[in-house]
Assembly symmetry: D3
């Protein structure tokens, strides 16, 4: 399959990477009203929103910085030789406009945007936004059937509530998603969990519901290949979601985030784990918690978009396997 050149990114051989408006990976901007919207296979979407953040804010600025950094991405995957933009019609769909002063209103806007994508057969690759973003996205993507999930993170995000009853924060999205039937907990695996803990309430919920947690100590001891083989087994051949919190990566490699935890994977492992998703049926993916105010050098965003490129290739690989 070769896509229409309309969907091919601008080359750095023709236009320097610092020139031109920074869409995701230099792809065309195809916002919902655009006349080629329905042709898109995979839509890259920004969700500039961090109202779920309980500590240091900033991910609302993530999409813009990620787009800027993404102009460094080129046409071909260096290892597999996949040329994703010639294989699937990819486009930048723009940002969902949030309401920074109203959490519920913002979640509705997000779900509506992704619902429109779903009705047009567009699979989403999201640039967050804090981790609460995944919940309204899943409400659209998993509306009909519960999904499995590969979740890279240093936290489980399975807490019940914060501050005396607040149910919607970036520490609670997957608790809500399981409760709402959007995720099948037995097909969920959480990788990289670490750090000091409040208590074991989240772990107890995971255990009671069959969610598999792979702490970072186990990750380091077993290695990427072994851990990811188990992850693929857990998720199986049915559709799944991939949620990648940048704080999965060690904070030295990804300082631009709000709740870092020491001792995580390095940048090479950060890519390897995505390459090991090959063959899964990925209904959607996100990269969240990139926080530019804490990323003065831009290195976190650059790592983030490199991960997004790997996620994109994994989504297409899955498509090919299914096609």
């Amino acid at each position: 399959m070769t896509t229409d050149p309309f969907f091919h990114p601008v080359s750095g051989f023709d236009l320097p990477r610092y020139a031109g408006l920074p869409t995701f990976m230099r792809l065309p901007l195809v916002e919902p009203g655009h006349d080629r919207f329905a042709e898109v296979d995979i839509g890259l979407v920004g969700v500039p929103w961090d109202s779920g953040t309980t500590n240091r804010p900033g991910p609302r600025h993530g999409p813009r910085q990620l787009r800027d950094a993404s102009t460094m991405i080129r046409a071909e995957h260096g290892v597999t030789g996949l040329r994703p933009f010639e294989t699937a019609a990819c486009a930048d769909l723009g940002d969902v406009g949030p309401n920074p002063a109203d959490i519920l209103d913002s979640m509705e806007r997000i779900t509506e945007f992704y619902g429109r994508m779903k009705r047009n057969g567009i699979r989403p690759l999201t640039a967050g936004g804090d981790h609460l973003t995944s919940l309204p996205v899943l409400r659209a993507v998993a509306r009909e059937t519960a999904l499995g999930m590969v979740h890279f993170d240093s936290h489980t995000d399975l807490f019940h509530s914060y501050f005396g009853g607040s149910m919607y924060t970036h520490g609670t999205p997957f608790r809500r998603a399981v409760e709402e039937g959007l995720l099948d907990p037995k097909r969920v695996v959480q990788i990289g969990i670490r750090g000091s803990m409040y208590d074991r309430e989240d772990r107890d919920f995971a255990a009671a519901n069959g969610i598999r947690i792979i702490p970072v100590e186990e990750f380091h001891a077993r290695g990427v290949a072994d851990v990811m083989a188990e992850a693929r087994d857990i998720v199986g051949s049915e559709p799944c979601y991939v949620s990648y919190d940048i704080d999965f990566v060690d904070p030295t490699f990804a300082p631009g985030t709000g709740t870092p935890e020491v001792g995580g994977p390095n940048s090479y492992q950060a890519l390897q784990v995505v390459r090991e998703l090959e063959g899964l049926q990925i209904a959607g993916a996100d990269l969240v918690e990139v926080s530019p105010p804490f990323d003065a050098s831009g290195g976190t965003a650059f790592l983030g978009v490199t991960i997004m490129f790997e996620l994109l290739c994994a989504m297409i690989g899955a498509q090919k396997a299914a096609g």
Copy 2:
């Protein structure tokens, strides 16, 4: 009057300024449950909260950075010779704990904290927080009678609502305060207003209610002394509130803020305007919108605490004038 040495700050001649826990101005920490709470005349309070921010977040980190910078403040005002900490019992009352995931809950917590202060006869000097902070503070301080206000800012913060109906943002606090009868609009003056504008809805509200706006062009043309004489006339001899948004100052002098506007006063004028408040009956004051993530050098916080020291001296001067 000489206060109990308990209320005197630590001297930099005895303990270097980088040593010890950074309370505001090296004052004793006297949280609400402390047994000397009722003895406090002026309480310095942190409100680490920015849920009203519609653009770049960060003021939730303000109180901590302001306390750190405040260890540079010494015992005596260089111009007037006032030794505030020996004149009034001043203390750091700690922070109000906000709920970052719930605006209304946070406003209730703030109002409750300041109500307790008021019942103990403590006048507040607040370190925000974004500008929405002023509203729940005024609900406590102005509970019984509407106050006048001297408001330093580059924005009026008099808008009706944002994003299709959100009533509580950092662009709306004084609209609400006038509506709720907390401020007497005819005794309100806003100084330093500037920048490009959405529309004139806020100006129309000001005009309709008798709020005096002094744009920065007028400020620069007339000079500090003339403008402040008018401000004192407007506010008069009845109790008033002073609200100081750090974005009143030119962003080169105060880059650490979320919504800067070019062309404001310099750092010397930033202090002068406060010195010109001498004689007013200041029931409370705040310094808001200091945003550490955008203040890499800490210069904004240092300017902020220097302004707070001037506000403190002005509050005591007012007290003296009244005493």
Copy 3:
């Protein structure tokens, strides 16, 4: 005159300023091939190019950072009440693609782009780029008749050559422009010149050709209004160009530039001088030498776009005066 809403920017009341792709001032992107290109009155163009830089590079990154900062600009001028986007059809025309490895090739590309604009009746407001940018722009804009020029800068940029004969650097553009008949030296005024000097070769050229230099010491002594009145007299009522090097402003207010000179105007004066251009026939304007690698806080870019907004209003004011 009210423009088509297509040409109106997105409001921050509807979409937060950190959301959406950052075009200049949130205007529509109308690149040369766009079907509404010919409707544009004033085109905002980026020239991401710094091959003429003899010291610290970086202005090639200017247009992207300026667009990002420009999302803070709103619809109405705070002082004059002008609503420029409803008065003239303004659009972001995208970037001219330079060749960073070939100075002459890049200059041809730039002149060609601006020639196309000129043929469509679009007046340019350029975001550089280093100051050599002005030369290929003038080759298009002043193709038919020599222009006057108001030039804000700390350097004259009138040198003959560098490094043993290099004729095209950011220190030589206006020497070339005078030699090529693009500028009428008797209608050129350079304001803000300062700093230590190599020698007097540039001043001698100015004197010999009738170019008026107003050093910063004279600027500070006489004040903005008096200096600008003389500037308007020099330029007169015939068409002129406005070239604004950000290093005109004191480097504390504009650190993000390659060749700063201490002791320049402050940020308020930086805006005032543009407001004083009212009434001139401005055929085009540029803001150059913003260098993001030396502007960690983004303050220089924010000042830069505020100046661009003033330039835009001045260009429209001129149009109105002529209309």
Copy 4:
């Protein structure tokens, strides 16, 4: 054993981590005069002092930045499940006030402070300060009997003197400590030593006295578990001290320090080595050489406090093993 809730830290579920005064790990502040001082088991102390620094200064600012970062620490160790604050009475004892203009006076002040702790049965966990800090601490802690030591560092700090005879610098503390009988050199192991060298004078001293040096090349070749097993053997079951210079860690993971050396352990290994201290009789520990002026992002301090949390757990584990 369950400690009095007075000694429990504030939870981030109740109060956001950016709120409140930043004591170490959100523990109560129990300075020497406090009436519960004698109840403390483990005291966290800051020594804001860097007069021993021969190159880039800054560790005097370490304790304040470390306290700030430490508000991210939670109640439970993620791997062992130990809840240290419920197991031992831990408190922030404040800072020792140094005299930045007098090295000998400062050392006396430090030894006196730690002597008082020792008389009250409080084991110290110190946040430096530069590495000279360890000497006056050891003068109190090892007053009666020489201790073994596990020393993590890239330098031996065993030099005789600097600059023609200066005996007290951050390159000499352990030479002095051995000379003064505070350390038993045969029970001392130094891990991670690397970098280019002046000469072999320090190595010769180590060899002559039986100090075991494990260079980083050996560390990388053998791995954490093997190296630490040897370290435990060397130190044995008698009381020991643990001194952790943050420059043990690779400077990419810990840039905020004055004398970095390339090629050290990563952040995961930085934690692992402390976990491997389990079972040692740790009479005291320190984390030194964190230098905020060279740690713009705060990542070094965050790594530092995570190491301090591991050290605290190791000290309690040792206590339990002994109890």
Copy 5:
């Protein structure tokens, strides 16, 4: 007088400013042993030393950063047309090597270095270092006769002692210099003094000895010309010293310093005050307290070297007036 080309700086027209080793102002390096040492008229010396600093350290790194920034200085003064390097033989004499672990030893080394200069008839222009630097310099320069002094600063540096008796800190040099007969207090003027104060002990010493203090409020009210006329009167026609603490300037213009005070002169005034020294008999001058760790952008150093260039021209102007 035209100097030997050996003493002329490299031109930026020949070698870009970022190339070559950064000596002060691109002058030749003529260290004390050099065979042309005795030919030097004015020697630029670095004193990388900050052991007198009681708060934030860093000025030990000043000379290196100042040399780097000084490569931007050109051959001719923009206002007076003076070409200093062709008028007097100027050279970079290198750094005095301090002992960071011993204050008294360092002071002896400095005095010895400057004594050698004095014996060779070389007038010093010093780049500090903290303000204690001025004391050992004065011990050499004013060995035979007490000097007058123009002192630009926000602090008087006239305190008796710190921390219970430390006599040599950056807050005491001029107290010592008066006591030692190096300065004639009746010919000393201190300009720009401001900020909150510990007490009035320094002011009392000034008053008792006839030192004239001009607070910044008076400076702003009277203006540069008037204040400097008085300063010249105070100092008179006998030899004097000029000591310029960079914290004289407002911290927004000069953030890279350890003890900033809000509300100082701007960058233009920072230069003007030096230009007003014309005609004084300047026996030596220094620029101190530039602290690179707090000057991320390098702007403070750039301002500092521009001030040094003005000081150099003032020293030569004085020489000319005397010649």
Copy 6:
């Protein structure tokens, strides 16, 4: 062999590392005209030039920052015990002065400078500059006979041209070098290649000419020792060049570069690979693409000079093996 003490660096025990002019590794400055030039064995040269850069500029500032960081290097290699400065006569030869406005002129200047070195028997160790630097260096070093090369990089730099025909950029030097017969492609190995790709044009050229590419995935899988054994085999016992692009290293360890690629070697591996060059006949080496504007902390430069120290030791080791 013991060299003349003239060629020994200054010790940090005598002069603090922040004092004195920063020559490379504190070696004597021996510029081409110096009377001991011909005695030099290995010359450290700066090439402050980045006109070949197609994306983010900055390496023109590399030599100055590298010299500054290099003052941390000491006299003896920590692992091998080699004391390079006593084994070979090493000196800082200063910078080649480039023409930033003319690529061809700059290349001629560089080749001329290195030709002079070659005629004096001096082997070069270069601090770039961008990677185009290697081409004019090779034109001098490999004038007579094609060299082998060990090339550490994340890019092949084997492209034909950019931007419609530009032949000299930092993406093309080794394509040119092979075409010009300066390199023997069958003795060239490129290690660490990674990242997304434009196309396979460079790989095709490598394959057609026998250049061996070792992608980073293979590097990580096989390990340093195995990969470097192959590299030594490829290069063999004939003279070779070593070119080290700092972007070989993972961008977290080396952020200060213009075209980073995620997933590279860590800092320890960055040194190990050079140590494994032992025994090769190294005719010259370079370390390029260090870009200070993107290296706020200076960590990249510090890693860079540590690599240069390893390269220097490898060059001397090779010399010894050959001697």
